[in-house]
């Protein structure tokens, strides 16, 4: 899983049936210091996230599991809304 910030929403009227009712969000991946880490991607929301929030997200086939038993075609899903990030200064 990775961190990201929700930066927008996607509206798609014509979409695969199993995606109807799900929110599509634009997320900007972040590293642990909240710096941008790669290009934005589109994710399906499973937790009620909104624009501006820092979230954790999952990619791959696992992304469709929150929506079982419905087989939902997603490879990127938001699985949590982040309250705090604790980062320790770890010496090698």
């Amino acid at each position: 899983m990775h961190l990201a910030r929700v930066i927008g929403t996607v509206v798609a009227t014509a979409k695969y049936e199993a995606l109807v009712g799900h929110k599509l969000l634009v997320i900007q991946p972040l590293d642990a210091r909240r710096n941008h880490d790669g290009r934005p991607v589109i994710a399906v929301d499973s937790v009620g996230a909104g624009v501006g929030e820092v979230v954790m997200w999952c990619r791959g086939k696992e992304s469709s599991f929150p929506f079982l038993p419905r087989n939902t075609p997603t490879d990127c899903t938001i699985v949590g809304i982040v309250d705090t990030i604790h980062l320790e200064e770890v010496t090698q």
Binding site: H2, G60, F65, V79, G80, H86, E88, V90
Partner: protein, 90 residues
């Protein structure tokens, strides 16, 4: 499996219910000499690891879901499955 170092953790109150009961750790991937080898990512902890620990991490859904929750088919793509004591080379 890869080697990583635990550098922190994330707290999320509102989350997928399969994440309940496990800590979400921030892991940086490392090489065999302990050097950082890529960008950090999040992994569920199944072995009570802590900051500074060198850990074994699976980055595949079946393995990660099973390790972290006891059964597959959770939206979990990475899990910590061991704390490394030492690595020996021949």
């Amino acid at each position: 499996m890869i080697l990583g170092r635990v550098v922190g953790n994330v707290v999320a109150t509102q989350k997928n219910d399969r994440y309940e009961g496990s800590r979400v750790m921030i892991v940086e991937p490392i090489g065999l000499e302990g050097e950082r080898s890529g960008a950090e990512f999040l992994a569920l902890d199944s072995v009570d690891s802590g900051p500074g620990d060198v850990v074994l991490v699976v980055r595949e859904g079946w393995a990660a879901s099973t390790a972290a929750t006891g059964r597959p088919q959770a939206a979990i793509d990475s899990a910590i499955i061991g704390v490394v004591d030492h690595i020996d080379f021949e």
